[in-house]
Symmetry: C2
Subunit: 195 residues, 2 copies
């Protein structure tokens, strides 16, 4: 995601990070309190005190703003590989799922999905995954217990699908610790033949 | 799902299956043509020629009608186990994913998810899964290549999550044959240790 806080030079005058933070905080509060439909740029402006043109200078659209408020925390996920696959996956899955589980993110997801399905295009770096996928792949690469024949993208797709479905529909299995379930599934998928 | 076509005796006078079929067909056409929001009982009534009270006698709510129109085909999935795990899973996943991939179902899912997230409760037998899960479990039970330590519900949760996510967001992996990807993932999860 072209997050405003990571916009480099050449994109105009330097931005005030305090303004970005105020707008994102107001957006998160609105998502929690009134939901996706009520989280409009006008209402974000009223809550944050930043005029709509200032908001649109930072985010090209209402959806881009909501995306950033919901998934910006993914940029903070930082799980360097230790070589202990199970431990690394536990740490990564916990940090990854925590972003999705935050109230503002839970409130945003069904509305974002409906908007994508209707007409809006998902952003190229949907849900800031560009920042976390390399970490996930590094964790896999650091372990000797990963089947080299497995496409790591497939493992990431399973991770994202399980986390997303748990937020959208009642759990299918009775496992009440979703992160442990995801880690167990990933370890099974990654296991080399004969192990 | 308490599908009207399977309602037994004791639920009032016998129903006319032709009326059920006409209402469901009109609902599917509306979902495809105007989407979830425009698929109202009033519009279904206009298209099918069945008065709204007749529709509400068969389905308790608009959401129940849309659920039945979108997922009723799951009741027709019929994949008896042969003992060949990979072949059985290929047949089952193809039939299961085909229901989700139908245009009316694709159109219904984001709206249903948003409704569940807002206030509606998903039906007890969400998406008619009660009818297909026993078949899935029978396929697993008929094979000697399934880890007995694996909770079969977990495998079903992976299946549902992968199929659902593929409909909602752009695919994470580049695999362009989603059914083959799902079968490969399931075989990896089900594999006993040492194989």
């Amino acid at each position: 995601m072209a997050s405003p806080s990571t916009a480099g030079p050449g994109r105009g005058r330097p931005r005030d990070p305090a303004i970005d933070a105020a707008v994102l905080a107001a957006t998160r509060r609105l998502l929690e309190e009134v939901g996706f439909a009520g989280t409009t740029v006008q209402e974000v402006s009223r809550r944050s005190g930043i005029h709509p043109p200032g908001i649109y200078r930072r985010w090209p659209s209402r959806l881009a703003l909501i995306e950033d408020a919901a998934f910006g925390d993914l940029a903070a996920v930082d799980v360097p590989p230790t070589g202990d696959l199970a431990a690394d996956l536990r740490a990564f899955v916990a940090a990854y799922a925590a972003t999705f589980d935050a109230p503002a993110c839970r409130a945003a997801i069904p509305g974002l999905l409906a908007a994508y399905g209707a007409d809006a295009q998902p952003p190229a770096d949907m849900w800031a995954h560009l920042s976390v996928r390399p970490q996930f792949f590094a964790i896999l690469a650091a372990s000797e217990h990963v089947d080299p024949a497995l496409d790591p993208d497939v493992a990431f797709e399973v991770l994202l699908s399980l986390v997303l479905a748990r937020l959208l529909i009642p759990p299918v299995s009775t496992a009440d610790r979703p992160a442990a379930l995801v880690v167990d599934v990933l370890l099974r998928i990654l296991r080399p033949p004969g192990r």
